[in-house]
């Protein structure tokens, strides 16, 4: 795997090393090295078929506990046709989107400020580090007291969940900009603003995107927690409701949808990243 400097530091911060975590095709180089025994997709297909069949057979013996694939499929059709699922999902997405945009804007700004001004860096570093390391969801009950249990709560929790990985990665990104480029810029009398625009920002973009990618994943966790613990809406509430009535087949549907949503979001971030940095092939 070549040219993966940035994602490696990202790995320090929670990015799966060299993007191998992403559900994509595994390294082709490795495949060539070890030789192909069987087609990967044949193995995957076989594996999925076997697991689904076994689950179907076992699940039928005790459907309340395990449920089974065909029941889940028909529950999915019902739920999607009927409406509660899509409405709940739209609710979740709305909070997620608003919160994430706020977190991205603030997080990137704070990260660059920390990178550009030593005073800001020294003053904020301890708090950013501390909050980055702690589960911010412990703050949920406190936030309920402050902002209630409405839309604001969900947005606040999403912001808190997503912003610290973003600040952290942007900040580290500014530190990892090639010193020689900065010196060259200075030597040619570039202003602070010019230096930021032409050297620091492009040089740190890989980290910014790593931060945004981790941020999306954390934001999703944040909104589900908010919906499950305090704000009685959205997908989180649906999960609790199906769980409470032991509707196991229905319960699987939002879980699977959340998994798919998470994959789609991460893929979308990769797509934007490739768009924004055409000079750099993103390692998958």
């Amino acid at each position: 795997m070549s040219g993966v400097k940035a994602p490696e530091h990202g790995a320090e911060l929670g990015l799966p090393a060299s993007g191998a975590a992403a559900p994509g095709p595994p390294g082709r180089a490795a495949a060539a090295r070890r030789g192909r025994l069987t087609s990967p997709w044949a193995v995957r297909l076989l594996s999925v078929v076997v697991v689904t069949t076994v689950w179907e057979l076992l699940g039928r013996t005790d459907p309340t506990v395990a449920s089974y694939p065909s029941a889940i499929a028909s529950a999915a059709v019902d739920l999607i046709g009927d409406g509660p699922l899509l409405a709940a999902f739209a609710d979740t997405l709305e909070g997620l989107a608003v919160g994430f945009v706020i977190a991205a804007v603030l997080g990137v700004a704070i990260g660059y400020l920390m990178g550009m001004f030593r005073l800001v860096e020294v003053a904020l570093d301890p708090y950013v580090n501390a909050l980055y390391a702690t589960p911010r969801i412990a703050l949920v009950p406190l936030l309920v007291l402050w902002v209630g249990i409405g839309f604001e709560l969900r947005v606040t929790i999403v912001v808190l969940s997503a912003i610290f990985p973003i600040i952290m990665n942007v900040h580290i990104g500014t530190r990892n900009v090639d010193r020689d480029l900065v010196d060259t810029g200075r030597a040619f009398a570039a202003s602070r603003w010019q230096l930021l625009r032409t050297v620091t920002i492009p040089g740190s973009l890989p980290y910014v995107f790593a931060g945004l990618r981790i941020g999306t994943a954390k934001a999703l966790v944040g909104i589900i927690v908010a919906e499950m613990t305090a704000a009685a809406t959205g997908t989180g509430q649906l999960l609790l409701q199906f769980g409470r009535y032991f509707e196991t087949d229905k319960l699987f549907v939002p879980i699977i949808m959340l998994g798919l949503l998470s994959i789609v979001l991460v893929e979308a971030m990769y797509a934007i990243e490739r768009r924004a940095m055409p000079w750099r092939r993103t390692e998958r």
């Binding site: 702690t134 009950p141 319960l251």
Partner: protein, 260 residues
Amino acid sequence: MRLSLDTRAGVWTVRVCTLALLLGAWQIYADGISRALFAPPTEIAESFVEIAINDDALLDAAVVSMGSMLVGFALAIGVGVAVGVAMGRFRILEHALDPYVSFLYAVPSIALIPLLVIWFGIDATLRVVLVFLAAVFPIIVNTMAGVKQVDGELIDVARVNCASERQIMRSVILPAALPFVFAGIQVALAQALVGVIVAEMTAVVTGLGGLIIRYAQFFQTAKLFVPILAVMALSIVLTALLRMLQRRIAPWATVDLREL
């Protein structure tokens, strides 16, 4: 005199000033509003003495939380590294398992809580299983990535020199993969902490998460801050311990960029 921000003294001056400013503003602001909503630092300190020093409430809760958290986390490391190495070494296994690993890695593990309650009830098993599920996938995924990126030539050299499979594993693959394994464990730690606190807040009202919920329900805001700060402190300590361990076990694996 202008204090340089590149010296230790300068850095700490700024930090202490920031902290003093923050606490001062907090104290003044909190004095003016309802105790049900906010509490000044002095009252939080009093509550801390009350809950943590005069009483065992905080300690008991921390033991409950950390107990299930550490058991689940240890299991996740054992299973995660083993599965990750196996998937990295054997392509059939990799392809057979990667649909589930990729998918379950993507699902926010806390969304599984209602399902796990149906399966395991609401006692300690639930928390251990949840922590395990939250932590195991980042470890598997990163370990596998680490094993797969091992320089093939190193393995060939070992083989040419008649190393056994076990020797190759011990002296080539594991050391080369360790930085990745640690990266995975670090991600896993954060997720495990979230998992245990959320489980305690939603399914079983116990441990530190339970304490948080209880104080919040009775609007005991000064006390509420104590378990919240305890969760933060514990997370910071565990993260630091992990970093120390990493520097100890695999000094070549440290890419620590935050030197301050």
